[in-house]
């Protein structure tokens, strides 16, 4: 069977893939013509090109893939004509190829409105990698950019302009709101607010009259008489189907373009199919990739002799536009007579959610999410499958209140044929059976087995939920195993390592694991070993198991240099020591900055210089600050009763005592602490893993707070306790955390998952309900006694120092590729390339 495919875009490529996978008996001869110089690439993520991705990164498959699968690929070779009588196509390069079946996957072109001046230099469309390369070249000399078109692609193009470094970016939209096809007016207002915060200026209800400038664009005139100065413009005002070949050979096309197809995607000539953005199905052009992929599958199935029809496609979408979640599903706009609408609008957080519910309150019909689209997958499934709604449907967007139960029915309620991955067309049933019959017990395994989640990736969280649910329902214990090398949870492994008295990574792997380890289990085991035995982490055999930062006792930064953070306990430092830091930074040309934890960070140190830098710091009485480790960072303090007129106790002295007690303590994640001298809480102790606040009668101890991306206030563990009791409680709390937390879990998350929560924790720590208090305190004391400064150990060991050179065969030479730029009288790392 001879198949010719015209067009090598995403959908044309998907057709090749699908055809190869179908059981087609007759020998298959596939010929593909592509107009562009590159084989098909990911156009959906085109803007990632300006984010550091290369054309190769975006490629869907290299040219060799076509050759390996026996597909003749003609790139840079547009087809000029189709001879339907002779059943041949003729290309620009002079190839005439016969076909049994012809598939048009010619896609679409940017629609350029007939505005005077569109031909000027500096005016671009946003469609192909070539367009991007042209934009990149022009952007170097441009300062102010604009985009015509506030739809999905237009906003993508605006992001591209930001990424290209244009200072000002405008979006000009003809309609009264952004993304008019996907979201309503209120949602659009919220999106507009978010985008304006990010430096994009939005002009709606604006019609461009002319593009002005000599040869190159200098500005835009609008029909309302206003003017905008810009030196770069991207037009993204919509698409028009590439139907000219079809038109030429007499196939039926729509009045406003698009090749007319039936439910089998056949054109008016049954030997010719059309798929993707060039196809007009029931008066509709589908401008998304998922329906295009579905069309490819329909054609491949049809050609393999089986039956399948295309019956329209759900246009629900979720995307992240310049960091803002936007989603719409089902019927987002349905009017007040046909549905009840529930709206949540939070202008302070920039969140807008709307759901449309059938008048009888039983079904979800559609909705819009802006700013927070976490609920998208479940809402989409609820709408598509007609799932029953909770008694208070607003819980779907508010989250359930006053309980930990999740709102809505959850994955269990979905029918077997619920489409989970719309890119690849994979149903819940297929995913569940890959777990039950295919033995897939990880998301990666399911991805490999079913291809679900390999497209846009939006459904991955749902795949995980389905997997866990299926395994649980089979009575399988869903264990949080570490990785393919260790079939244990972190807690199990820690206990085993302790009982078996293992002290090196290799011993642990030989005794309890399999294979050669990886970047997940190595640092985890190294952390367990450090938490149990507190030996110098760079001891032979464990050095290369450390996480990259621990291995060089410093944080790797952009460009490959390191930062140096000496410990400044409680934030207290003498003028003499401050001078030493200044001198060291000067001598080694380091950028200096005060950290959020009351210490001083020196950036831009060459690997080779680290030992010498630390030698000087240690000589002046400093020690490692462990800023690179999953360990105690800093104990912040306010100035306390020694100077402050409100201070109740000496918070600085207590902070120093705490910091020196737990310095170097390795834990599942980093630990931060603070001590405040009174209730005014200047040290912000309630945002720390453990925080202490002075009271009239002693100290209040708070635990499991967190700053970071999900801030959480610490909870009171014990009130009005004396210093000794406070330290004993912290000992017990930290040992319990170290022994039971999952890897890379901060204390706040650990507490959230801990059964019984803070009450259970208080029982263990304060009331000693497990009878382990004494053991915890003793174990902690052993760790405290075993502490030594690891940088001191390195500085004093020629063998260890040797590891701190960039070139093994030229130890004196620094990495010549390291580059700095200057900024405000200091240096900064050169940007990512």
């Amino acid at each position: 069977m001879k198949i010719v495919i015209i067009g090598n875009g995403m959908v044309g490529y998907k057709l090749c893939e699908k055809l190869l996978a179908k059981p087609i008996a007759a020998p298959l001869h596939i010929t593909v013509f592509g107009e562009e110089v590159r084989p098909a690439y990911d156009r959906v993520h085109l803007s990632a090109f300006f984010d550091g991705k290369t054309a190769d990164d975006l490629s869907l498959a290299p040219a060799s893939w076509y050759a390996d699968n026996g597909i003749a690929l003609h790139l840079s070779d547009p087809v000029l004509s189709i001879d339907r009588a002779a059943k041949t196509v003729s290309s620009h390069a002079g190839h005439t190829i016969p076909y049994d079946y012809l598939v048009l996957a010619t896609g679409s072109a940017a629609f350029v409105p007939p505005i005077p001046g569109v031909e000027k230099e500096g005016v671009f469309i946003y469609r192909t990698i070539e367009d991007l390369e042209l934009m990149q070249a022009h952007a170097r000399k441009a300062k102010k950019g604009a985009v015509i078109g506030g739809g999905l692609l237009g906003l993508e193009a605006a992001k591209a302009l930001l990424d290209l470094g244009l200072g000002t970016t405008h979006v000009v939209e003809f309609a009264p709101r952004l993304m008019p096809r996907q979201i309503d007016e209120a949602g659009s207002r919220m999106l507009q607010g978010k985008l304006e915060e990010l430096g994009i200026q939005i002009h709606t209800s604006k019609n461009t009259a002319a593009i002005v400038g000599e040869d190159t664009i200098t500005g835009m005139d609008f029909t309302d008489g206003s003017h905008l100065e810009v030196d770069m413009l991207v037009i993204s005002a919509g698409i028009k189907p590439r139907d000219e070949l079809a038109r030429h050979c007499g196939l039926e096309v729509g009045p406003r373009g698009g090749i007319v197809v039936n439910n089998s995607l056949q054109t008016s000539d049954p030997s010719i199919f059309a798929i993707g953005e060039c196809a007009l199905h029931e008066g509709m052009i589908y401008g998304l990739v998922a329906p295009g992929y579905e069309m490819a599958d329909v054609v491949a199935t049809h050609l393999s002799g089986a039956a399948k029809s295309f019956t329209g496609f759900d246009m629900s979408t979720k995307l992240k536009l310049i960091g803002v979640d936007v989603a719409s599903f089902g019927d987002p706009f349905i009017g007040p007579n046909e549905a009840r609408t529930i709206v949540l609008e939070d202008t302070s957080k920039g969140i807008y959610k709307r759901i449309n519910i059938s008048n009888d309150g039983k079904k979800l019909l559609g909705g819009i999410l802006v700013g927070d689209a976490e609920a998208y997958n479940m809402l989409l499934q609820t709408a598509k499958n007609g799932l029953a709604l909770p008694p208070n449907p607003e819980d779907l967007i508010l989250g359930a209140r006053g309980g930990s139960e999740e709102a809505g029915a959850g994955v269990a309620a979905l029918p077997e044929d619920a489409l989970i991955c719309s890119c690849e067309g994979i149903t819940k049933g297929q995913i569940c059976s890959s777990v039950t019959d295919g033995g897939c017990e990880s998301v990666d395994a399911i991805k490999k087995c079913t291809k679900a989640g390999t497209g846009c990736g939006g459904c991955v969280p749902m795949i995980k939920d389905l997997m866990v649910h299926t395994m649980k329902s089979q009575g399988k214990y869903v264990r949080n195993v570490i990785c393919e090398h260790f079939e244990f949870s972190r807690q199990e492994l820690l206990n085993l390592v302790k009982v078996k008295n293992l002290t090196t990574y290799n011993e642990v792997l030989d005794t309890l694991g399999k294979g050669d380890g990886c970047e997940i289990c190595k640092p985890l085991v190294a952390s367990i070993l450090a938490s149990l035995w507190n030996e110098v982490i760079l001891k032979k055999g464990n050095d290369t198991a450390q996480d990259s930062n621990d291995r060089f006792l410093a944080n790797i930064q952009k460009g490959g240099t390191y930062s140096v953070v000496p410990r400044i306990p409680g934030g207290e430092i003498t003028p003499e020591k401050l001078i030493v830091i200044g001198q060291v930074a000067q001598k080694y040309n380091l950028y200096t900055k005060i950290t959020g934890g009351q210490r001083i960070d020196m950036f831009g140190a060459h690997l080779n210089d680290l030992p010498a830098i630390w030698e000087e710091l240690i000589a002046a009485g400093f020690e490692s600050g462990h800023a690179y480790g999953k360990s105690l960072r800093t104990v912040k303090s306010c100035v306390g009763s020694t100077w402050c007129r409100f201070g109740l106790h000496d918070s600085v002295s207590f902070a120093i005592r705490i910091e020196e007690r737990y310095r170097g303590l390795r834990a599942p994640h980093k630990l931060k602490s603070a001590v405040s001298g009174c209730i005014r809480e200047c040290a912000e102790a309630q945002s720390k893993d453990f925080g202490i606040i002075a009271t009239e009668k002693g100290w209040n101890l708070y635990v499991c707070g967190n700053g970071g991306s999900k801030p959480q206030h610490a909870l009171l563990l014990a009130a009005d306790i004396d210093s000794e009791t406070c330290i004993r409680y912290i000992d017990r709390f930290l040992m319990l955390y170290i022994k039971t937390a999952d890897p890379l879990t901060r204390t706040a998350t650990w507490l959230n998952k801990l059964e019984g929560g803070i009450d259970y924790l208080r029982n263990v720590v304060v009331n000693d309900s497990l009878g382990l208090a004494e053991q915890f305190e003793q174990e902690m004391q052993e760790l405290v006694d075993a502490y030594e400064c690891e940088w001191k150990a390195v500085v004093e060991s020629p063998e260890l120092r040797k590891r701190f050179s960039h070139f093994v065969n030229a130890p004196e030479e620094k990495d010549p590729t390291v580059q700095f730029e200057s900024m405000r009288d200091q240096k900064k790392a050169a940007d990512w390339k």
Binding site: G52, K53, T54, D56, D57, D444, K447, T454, E484, H485, N506, L509, G515, D516, G517, C518, E519, C521, K522, P523, K540, G541, D543, T544, A545, D547, S548, N549, R551, F552, I556, K558, G559, G560, R803, H806, F807, V808, N809, A810, E813, D815, P816, T817, V818, W832, K833
Partner: protein, 125 residues
């Protein structure tokens, strides 16, 4: 080693075997280029790849952790943990960022040699 030896290589003496930490890597200077060299003691194997991670163009692969995935030896870049096969250099992470060039390695008399394809030309600059 996977590289077929039908190609001709110039064998470059990089360092002695004890210069490279067990189950770890070092960076080797070859002319104006940088090669990551790994001593995979657990497997009794040596590997060499380009030192530059193709994801963000950082000279860092030699500082990455090595290990295996389903038996295949690999290295993880310390910056964003992109995984690459040590056998053929292909990117193993879901969101591939391009591949690493690999070099054959041989050990003779306690010295480690890296095979540079062709004679004098540097092909990957």
């Amino acid at each position: 080693m996977s590289a077929t030896l039908t190609e001709s290589y110039t064998w470059f003496a990089a360092c002695s075997t004890t210069d490279v930490p067990e189950n770890g890597g070092v960076c080797v200077k070859y002319k104006n280029d940088q090669i990551a060299l790994f001593n995979f003691t657990r497997r009794g194997e040596w590997y060499a790849t380009q030192n530059m991670c193709p994801h963000r163009m950082q000279m860092a692969i030699s500082r990455g952790m090595i290990g295996s995935i389903e038996g295949e030896p690999k290295v993880a870049c310390p910056f964003h943990k992109k995984n690459f096969s040590l056998v053929d250099g292909r990117c193993l992470s879901d969101d591939s960022c391009g591949d690493l060039k690999t070099y054959p390695v041989k050990v003779e008399g306690g010295r480690v040699f890296i095979g540079i394809p062709g004679a004098e030309e540097d092909t990957w600059a």
